[in-house]
């Protein structure tokens, strides 16, 4: 697409790679990640910060990418679900979600994985209650959260053993 005249150049580091993109000031980070950069693992469930499906980690902080303007990504480091597993294979959280059947339709899963990663980065040994409260910003309509909570607790235990 030809950049419109009001488009702004943004430089960011996304999933470990330097990325340069153009965007309109009104575009959200979510829209640019999905529609311009092809990172469609980032999902839109509500567009106003209530469901967590679009969660990404920006400079170590869990954010709803629907509430971040793409121009705010300038100079930032961003991790999406596509960049969760560093080198081949699966991240222990991804593995744990599969082993615990912690997904049904799978559309909320990328957001939950990023939220869980942000939790374990800051609190490697959470209690069930801490997991539940940390994940309060992520909606899942399929699982009743039971298997998601178990998957996060089990991944934490396995990561601690490494």
């Amino acid at each position: 697409m030809t950049p419109a005249t009001n488009e702004i150049k943004v430089n960011a580091r996304i999933n470990g790679e330097p990325v340069e993109f153009f965007c309109e000031p009104r575009q959200t980070l979510l829209e640019v990640l999905r529609d311009r950069l092809g990172l469609t693992g980032v999902k839109e469930g509500c567009g106003n910060g209530n469901c967590g499906a679009c969660n990404v980690i920006m400079d170590g902080v869990l954010v709803n990418s629907c509430l971040v303007l793409a121009v705010e990504a300038e100079g930032r480091t961003i991790t999406t679900v596509e960049g969760l597993a560093a080198n081949g294979g699966l991240h222990p959280l991804q593995q744990s979600f599969l082993e615990h059947a912690a997904l049904q339709c799978g559309v909320c899963t990328p957001g939950f994985l990023l939220a869980a990663k942000a939790l374990l980065d800051r609190n490697p040994h959470p209690t069930e209650r801490e997991v539940r409260y940390w994940l309060a910003g992520n909606l899942c309509r399929c699982t009743g959260y039971d298997k998601i909570v178990r998957a996060v607790l089990d991944a934490a235990a396995k990561m601690a053993m490494r």
């Binding site: 990172l39 599969l98 082993e99 059947a101 049904q104 909606l139």
Partner: protein
Amino acid sequence: MSEHQTTQEMVSTAYKVIGTRPARPDGVDKVTGRALFGADIQLPGLLHGKVLRSPHAHARIRRIDVSRAARLPGVKAIITAADLPDVENKIQEVGEGAIGLKYLSANLLARDKVLYHGHPVAAVAATSIHIAEEALALIEVEYEVLPPVLDVRAAMAADAPILLDDLRTDELGRKGTKPTNVAEHIRFQMGDPAAGFAAADVIVEREFTTSTVHQGYIEPQTATALWNRDDTITIWTSTQGAHSARDQVAEVLQWPATRIKVVPMEVGGGFGGKGNIYLEPLAALLSRKAGHKPVKLVMTRAEVLMATGPTSGSFIRVKMGATKDGRLTAAEVWMAYEAGAFPGSPVGAGMNVILAPYRIENVLIDGYDVVVNKPRTSAYRAPGGTNAAYAAEVVIDELCEKLGMDPLEFRLRNGVREGDRRASGPTYPRIGYLETVRAIQQSEHYRTPLEGPNRGRGIASGYWGNWGGRSSVAASVNADGQVNLVVGSVDLSGTRTTLAMQLAETLGIPVEHVKPVVADTDAVGYNDVTGGSRTTFGTGVAVCEVGRKLKEEMIGRVAELWEVDPVEVTYADGVFAAGERRMTFQEAAGRLNEDRPVMVSATTHAQEVGPGFATHCVDVEVDPETGKVTILRYTAAQDVGRAVHPDLVEGQIQGGVTQGIGWALNEEYFYDQEGRLLNATLLDYRMPVAPDLPMIDTILVEVPNPGHPYGVRGVGEVPIVPPAGALANAIYHAVGVRLTHLPMSPARILEALWAKA
């Protein structure tokens, strides 16, 4: 943290694959972000569309002027109802419900009237979503605002505003003559209710109301369409039924179904709400009008809540009588369900559910399907069942209280079993209702006394009839022994896995050797929607059949190879044998493919559906200061027939229970006086989040369904049926108030507590 207790009755040890917990074939794609859901489709030259929606709940459209919008640079097409063909009012089956075609069309784009806040009026395609949004603001619509009617009983009143000028009541099979909002009156009758009540020592009668609620799938509706220059249409969409979506589009566009291909994308939750079409025909018409460019439409969350889904608000009156030794003698039910703007509420299904767990000889059930100025309702997991069971289970609990009987003992005394006749006519085949009651009775949860102030325990049961439906499947054997399984049943939550497992079991090969794929409408025969808890059962029957045929085919071909009579060839545990000769499945696959490929197909319309029953037990604590209900412990026992993949069955139960909890305690649509939806966000439409819940314990009771080779019953819908009743009963036992409205929100509980004090 509570543990899972899986009590599997009648477990057969003969199965190698059924009952195991293999990884799902779509799993890695779904945890890495690779899985392609509807909105993830990208096509060269893709245009983006938006839908203009009515700000009024009820109004006549006087004029629509799109000329200013059409002049906005970047706008490529605008459509209104004038672009939709006129259609006759024939009834279209859409899987879990039926709707008049004329109404289906009018729901896509309003013709002369808008009937709910959010009713589509026009749609735009442009080079960007932002330009499309700007164009909407330039479309001028002149409305003559009419008074709305939002409550089911108000809509039934003689002087109510009329929504549909041509609607006449179908009164027990006879058409009425006067304009009305009552689309249908249905009745189930059995025995002599008056005599039954005369024989009762205790009678309880109560009235219940329930609010409109939404399925709440996380992925908004979306559709992308290309109307090609050869007049074929391709639609990529998030749907529960590709063939059903194709046929609905064909009907409303009056276009041959076989010139339409529907490609089902991964579905981000449906729960019944994605069996209907909303955006597909609009995207197709926009594509044609924009010069045969692909057009993508994606709803915002507000649009999802305003204009898709919801299931009926309702009014239900239940009267039941029992003798002092605890035998039910009679029941009378009067229930009216909101259909939304067009006829088709699940009141009939609710009538089937409401007394289903109980043997009652004398029954009268009247049901009414009523239009109101809300979005057209759609199936929602056990459609109509949750609110119906809530009403009956509260009355049952009150009867138990008056009789001084334990609620589980009462259910064992009155519970249905094989051969009992339902008020709707049929008799039950082998069912496992009583087994679920006993499972709760024997559970560690029930045997542990609940102590402490403001705490209470509630019991409730539930039923869903389940469904078989039509399915087509095909299987081909690769030279390396791996089997491709092509199905047309959309996978909402893991059915690729459960179907592959059934084929692996039938063929005696490892499940990892079966590669299931969900095909588009051009690549596989007809399949009904994934709904009604039918896929693992109904499509499963087709898969077992294709496995049987594949074995037969391969036995014949191995016999050819060995130059023996086919009857001399046996096949067991993955090995063909005749006399001293042996050949593994894998070896046979290689040898046979050298000659000619191996492929078979099967179609079914599975009839021997196994109804599902569940009994739930919940402990709550009610905060008397705030009215907040905390769920301390939850156990759901369910007859699952045979748990093909126990993790997935548990997941179905835990998810269904959680939706039921949301319906019971939090979720509801708020409308203002003018009929505008006030809470069209996921902050204000409050679905359960992780900290609202404990672990949900499940007890998988296995009473095999004789109508399926491995005993499978549908499992997805039953679990949403009992929670509201169980919670209402628990709240009563905690704080002594019977809540007769859903949701039992903190405000309503406080009001009840104040009224009691």
